[in-house]
Every structure is written in structure tokens, then in C-alpha cells.
């Protein structure tokens, strides 16, 4: 099992913590799914970027989840903003882990890969363990690894879109080119089948938020996602069969003229 900066995850599901109907339901989603990582956004939900401390009640609820915390720089549109947010996160959560988002387009929320590489370099030089939210582009992946990232988080589809895995070929190719790097499909997952598919591609984890938080029953959806991700992971490890273009009966066909 590939390790995330030395850490083995007990479960391939990483869950975001935004948009739930209530903190109690958020906690329930983590409990029923056994998700191993909680991403938390520092920019938007807590006002911590103004004078710190005001979101304490929410943070203690997150800490009480007792999972690995992965702060993120969600909503940052520039290198400087992302770096500042990362520093705040490190102070607040006492972790070097940072999910690095540098948003390039306000509509699609797609990553600004140039800013991403630049920010990743600054942060890894500063001792951060960076989880970059990127595209499936191979040369960007190369640059990120050269910048010191040891994990890559390509998108499945735009954030919050629930469109699933838009570019299986690209994700497959990324997996094949970086066999030793832990890879996470981050964003775009709307259904458990998407999560299973990402894991079947040989990915190490999936990260999602909206699909669970906005489900009618977030806790049940979280469990479905965890089960699906685990199923996909087991399948990938089990060396699945190759598809073929003719029927291959699993019982012998003695006595039948099958070589006609």
C-alpha cells in the first residue's frame, strides 16, 4: 500500500467537511463511513483569516472526529494567498499536511497549474507535505513531483459537479506514469460507482465532499462511498481479469463443436 508522507490510511475515503446540514450530521458521516482523512477549508467557513479563534467551536468538533486532518487552501486564487493560508493552517492544526488549491477559474474552479507548481515549491521548501489539487496533465505532475510533492490529487471532474470520472484515459495514464506516487482522485465524484471506478484505476484514495454533504442522508451516502472505494481498492489489488470480445464460458463445453 502506498503511503501518504509515511502514513498508511486505514480507509481510502477522504471526506470534506463543508456544506453539511449540521456539525452533528457531519460527525455521523465520518463515524458511519470510517473515513480516514478530513479536509478542512480555512478560508471560507470560519473567519479564521480575519482574527483567528472565532471558529473555535467548529474546529473542536472537527478535532473530535479523531481522523487525520488535511487542511486545504480552498478558494485561494493566488500563490501568495495559498501560501499564507497554508501557514495559518499549520499553526492552527499543528500538521505539515496541506491540500494545495490554487484556483485558476472562478466558474469551473479548475486549478491554476502554473501557480500550483510555484506554491508547491515554496511550501515544500518550508517543510510542508503538499497534496496538490491538479489536473491529470502528465507534465504538470512531473513539475509537482520535482517541486517536492510526494502525492498527487488529480480531479475527476470540476469541484461540486458530481460528473464522475471525466477522463479515464488521462487518469489511467497518470497512474501508469507514476507507479510509486500515491494518487487521489479529488473532486467531481457524485456517486459510489464513480469512487469505485477511480479505485479500480489503481488510485490510492478518493476525496469528496458535496456528494455526501448534499445527499438527503449524508451519513448513509458516506458509508456507501466508503464501501464503494474499498470495493474498488480490493478489486484493483485482486488483479482483475482483462475484458475480451467473445464469450468465455467458465464451464467446459465438452461435446460441443465450439471450434467451428
Amino acid at each position: 500500500m502506498r503511503k501518504f508522507y509515511g502514513v498508511t490510511l486505514k480507509n481510502p475515503l477522504m471526506l470534506g467537511t463543508a456544506q453539511y446540514p449540521s456539525p452533528a450530521i457531519l460527525a455521523e458521516a465520518f463515524k458511519t463511513s470510517g473515513a480516514s482523512v478530513a479536509t478542512v477549508s480555512l478560508r471560507r467557513e470560519n473567519g479564521a483569516d480575519q482574527d483567528g479563534g472565532q471558529g473555535q467551536a467548529f474546529w473542536s468538533l472537527i478535532r473530535a472526529l479523531d481522523v487525520k486532518i488535511l487542511p486545504n487552501t480552498a478558494g485561494c486564487h493566488s500563490v501568495k494567498e495559498a501560501v499564507t493560508t497554508a501557514h495559518m493552517a499549520r499553526e492552527m492544526f499543528d500538521t505539515n499536511w496541506i491540500k494545495l488549491e490554487v484556483i485558476g477559474n472562478t466558474d469551473t474552479l479548475q486549478p491554476d497549474v502554473f501557480g500550483l507548481v510555484e506554491a508547491a515549491k515554496i511550501l515544500t521548501d518550508d517543510g510542508f507535505e503538499v497534496f496538490p489539487y491538479t489536473t491529470e496533465d502528465l507534465s504538470v505532475a512531473d513539475r509537482l513531483l520535482n517541486a517536492g510533492c510526494e502525492v498527487l490529487m488529480p480531479w475527476g471532474a470540476p469541484i461540486g459537479s458530481g460528473q464522475g470520472i471525466n477522463n479515464p484515459l488521462g487518469l489511467r495514464s497518470l497512474r501508469a506514469h507514476f507507479p510509486d506516487t500515491p494518487l487521489v482522485v479529488d473532486a467531481g465524484i457524485g456517486l459510489p460507482s464513480h469512487a469505485a471506478f477511480a479505485m479500480e484505476l489503481g488510485y490510492d484514495a478518493v476525496l469528496l465532499n458535496t456528494a455526501v454533504a448534499k445527499a438527503g442522508d449524508p451519513a448513509q451516502m458516506a458509508r456507501a462511498m466508503a464501501n464503494a472505494a474499498t470495493a474498488g481498492q480490493l478489486a484493483a489489488l485482486a488483479d482483475p481479469m482483462e475484458p475480451r470480445d467473445m464469450a468465455a464460458p467458465s464451464t467446459p463445453v465438452i461435446g460441443k463443436a465450439f471450434l467451428s
Binding site: P21, S22, P23, A24, I25, A27, R44, E45, N46, G47, A48, Q50, D51, Q54, G55, Q56, A57, F58, L61, G160, T210, K214, G216
Partner: protein, 326 residues
């Protein structure tokens, strides 16, 4: 019947409804607040005033939907501020899938076409193709409603005192977020809102504009005044609005109708709603104090039910469904 003599601490929407209900049933009420008059210091001063239990069901648990259905009648019985025109839920072109989800998660609504939307709200003609209409919902002007309750109480001899509450009577604590000193699981959820003046537009009912990232609502008040709200941020900060929130609110208003571009910004409101971890209200008894708190974004919607349940408990010993001891 038990004689009830209570000090109510906190004269926001929860405290004023509580005082009104207990006084109505013949109890002796003493009302305390840090300010003698309802105003900016109270979170409910900044409320939208939607009495929309069914819409709230989109994210709120069942008790909010059920208990909230008492609200419009209660406010109608005690004030003349209620407008019963329903509420309208809309989404812009590519966000219409949000409407499907909203419809699935709520009840007591009917789909409306572009023509029906134009009939309900002529000023929105041509802007929206589809929406949901919640015919039985209502709204009120929160500031007028609060002032009415305070005036009526004063007429009964119940004035808001700013002194320390008497020690020897039972106390009902309705202080909202200030009660964090006694209720450790209470947290603040920051809300930012704007009051706009826009005489060019006339709306008859609250409009909710769905958006995956920035859902807003706009509530019409008299004389071309609109309340535009509200953000939901996990923070107890109640000082200032951020540029981002302001942009989001105004962009959404502009998307609802371009004429809002000419509106004047009369007020910027920022406060923190008191909430428990499940965002449901609680009536909690600790020693001689009953805490009625955690109304979250449902102050005007749930304060009547909270007052009724507390009064039932005091006068008849009936245990409120939202009472707990943790």
C-alpha cells in the same frame, strides 16, 4: 393551576415570545436585557423574517418543519406584521438541477412555469422559466414584530430592565449566543445580510435563489425596502462583513433582477446565530434556570413553539420534546 413567576433574561425574539406567552397565560414576568430596547445588539434584529417551515426542510430536520408551522398563526395572533403570500424558490438557467433537489427534499410546494412566476411576481417576468411555489408559507417584518411584542408587554407593565435579574425567582435564559458561558455545546454561525432600498422593484413574497455555492434569499419589506441574506459561516465573529460575502450577496441580487444594481445599501448586518451541534433548538433545565436556546437560523420560525413548550412545562408540567439534559 400553578402560579408562575419568572425572570426572563434576554429580550430578543426568543425572550420576547417567551414573555408574551407566559404573560398571556397569567404568569408574572420580569424581563431583562443589556439594552432597554430591542435593536442592533440582538441577533433577531437582523433576521429575514421568513416563516417558511417547508422550505427550511431542505436542510433542517423534521422538528423544525413541524414546529415551524405554528409560527405564522402565533405571530398573526400577537402582531399585525404577517404577510401570507407564500414563498417562491427559483434558480437561474444552468442551476435548475438545484430545484429538483430542493423539490425532493421539501413538501407542500407546486412547480410553477414562467407564466405563473410572472403572475405571482410581475417584476420577475421573463427572468425565470421554472420555480417552486410554497403557497402556505408567510413572512413578517422582524423589527416591527419585535417592537410590537415589546410595546404590548410594556402596556401590561412588563418593561425591559437592564439591572441584574432577581435571584429568588425562577429564571428563563434566552440570551442566545451570550449563554455560551453556561451552554458549552452552543456555537456561533456567522450571518451577513444587507438591507437594500430599491423602489424600482416590487415583490410580494420572499424569493429564494438557489445556487450550488451561493444560495440567497430576498425578503420584501414595505416601501421598496428589501432584506438580502444571508451567509452561513462557522464562526462566532459578529464584527464585520467580508468583501467576498458582500460580492456574493450583491451578485446574487443582481442576478435575480438587474434593477438591484441601482439599489441603495441602507444597512449591513453581521451577527452570529446561536446553534447546537445538530442545529436543533433545546430547552434545558439546569438548577433553577431553564435555557431556551439554539434557534439557529430559525428564530422567528421556532420562538413561538419554544415559548409554548416552555409555558406548557411551567404551567402544566408537560415535558417539552426538545428538552434534554446534556
Amino acid at each position: 393551576m400553578t402560579h408562575v413567576d419568572v425572570s426572563i433574561v434576554g429580550a430578543g425574539v426568543a425572550g420576547l415570545c417567551m414573555a408574551t406567552e407566559i404573560a398571556k397565560r397569567g404568569g408574572d414576568v420580569h424581563l431583562y436585557d443589556r439594552e432597554p430596547q430591542i435593536g442592533k445588539h440582538a441577533c433577531s434584529w437582523w433576521a429575514g423574517g421568513m416563516l417558511a417551515p417547508f422550505c427550511e426542510g431542505e436542510a433542517a430536520p423534521e422538528p423544525v418543519v413541524r414546529l415551524g408551522q405554528e409560527a405564522a398563526d402565533w405571530w398573526d395572533a400577537h402582531t399585525d406584521c404577517v404577510t401570507r403570500n407564500g414563498s417562491l424558490v427559483l434558480a437561474l438557467g444552468r442551476d435548475t438541477s438545484e430545484l429538483k433537489r430542493f423539490a425532493r427534499r421539501t413538501s407542500n410546494h407546486a412547480p410553477v412555469s414562467a407564466d405563473q412566476i410572472a403572475q405571482l411576481e410581475p417584476d420577475l417576468e421573463g427572468h425565470f422559466n421554472t420555480g417552486l411555489y410554497f403557497a402556505t408559507e408567510a413572512h413578517l417584518d422582524p423589527r416591527r414584530a419585535l417592537t410590537t411584542l415589546a410595546d404590548k408587554l410594556r402596556a401590561k407593565g412588563v418593561t425591559v430592565k437592564t439591572t441584574a435579574p432577581a435571584q429568588n425567582v425562577n429564571r428563563i435564559d434566552c440570551r442566545g449566543l451570550s449563554a455560551q458561558d453556561a451552554l458549552k455545546d452552543l456555537r456561533g454561525v456567522k450571518g451577513e445580510m444587507l438591507v437594500l432600498k430599491c423602489p424600482d422593484i416590487n415583490l410580494s413574497r420572499p424569493i429564494r435563489l438557489l445556487h450550488p455555492r451561493i444560495p440567497i434569499y430576498i425578503v420584501p419589506r414595505a416601501n421598496g425596502i428589501f432584506m438580502l441574506g444571508a451567509t452561513m459561516i462557522e464562526s462566532s465573529d459578529r464584527d464585520r462583513i467580508t468583501v467576498r460575502s458582500m460580492l456574493e450577496l450583491l451578485t446574487a441580487a443582481f442576478a435575480l433582477h438587474p434593477a438591484f444594481g441601482e439599489a441603495e445599501i441602507l444597512e449591513i448586518g453581521v451577527d452570529a446565530r446561536p446553534a447546537f451541534p445538530d442545529n436543533l433548538p433545546r430547552i434545558r433545565k439546569q438548577d433553577c434556570t431553564i435555557y431556551a436556546n439554539g434557534l439557529y437560523r430559525h428564530g422567528f420560525l421556532l420562538a413561538p413553539a419554544m415559548a409554548r413548550m416552555t409555558a406548557d412545562f411551567l404551567f402544566e408540567g408537560k415535558r417539552p420534546e426538545v428538552m434534554n439534559a446534556d
